[in-house]
Symmetry: C2
Subunit: 118 residues, 2 copies
Amino acid sequence: MPRAPTTLDPFNAVAEPKRRRVLETLAHGEMPVNGLVHTLGWPQPMISKHLSVLKEVGLVAMRQKGRQRLYRVNGQRLKSIHDWAKMFERFWTHQLDRIKERAERKAREQSQKKGESI
Amino acid sequence: MPRAPTTLDPFNAVAEPKRRRVLETLAHGEMPVNGLVHTLGWPQPMISKHLSVLKEVGLVAMRQKGRQRLYRVNGQRLKSIHDWAKMFERFWTHQLDRIKERAERKAREQSQKKGESI
DNA sequence: TTGAAATATTCCCATATCGGAATATAGTTC
DNA sequence: GAACTATATTCCGATATGGGAATATTTCAA
């Protein structure tokens, strides 16, 4: 079984670093494809292909304006990633974890010393 | 060029749905490999392999206790995902966007009507 | 209608992946 | 040190991928 398709969900789509850069660029505001081409300096087909994936998973939305296609970030879909990560919030805010970690490190250093002296 | 390695960064590691489930399970607290095996009901080598990826990118940490290996979530690494997504926060909290979106939808409906009447 | 601009799609290929099965390794207990 | 427990690693094959190059499609303008 191969890896899950990039179009399976926002997590897979966002795994590709270049697609993250596209989103970051669009964070500045709605932009046509050529805007991204010039800002990022990548070949146009490459931009279009990445946009296609982002659009399929709903991370960006598009509207047509003349012969241009203006892409923009879709907040709701990005929120889903944010919400998922938020579920681990206590692991970086709670002071308790740092204390526990320090204790563990000390314990490890202790056993380390013991090992070295053998 | 194939897809970026899953061990490139937390984003790639977390793309795999099963690895997300492993992390969610570990959110309940430190747990040995067999704990995950019994909780998730997947083959042990599968759990070990996913843990290996998560560990390589630093999303989990491990400590040995007898013959068991206790895995736990690493908050700092998960925070990096949270922080990245947070950069788009205004796209789901800011009221302005919803207003703009509604205006755009209206405009689209308008041109839609025009098209239908032709 | 012909042309040009803006964007999307197709075809190709080298490659990392996930799962399954089997096996290897480390630590414990007797 | 033999048996056992807990976990990790290896080997395998099918598959979707991302980039490059070329090409197709859509839209406007003259």
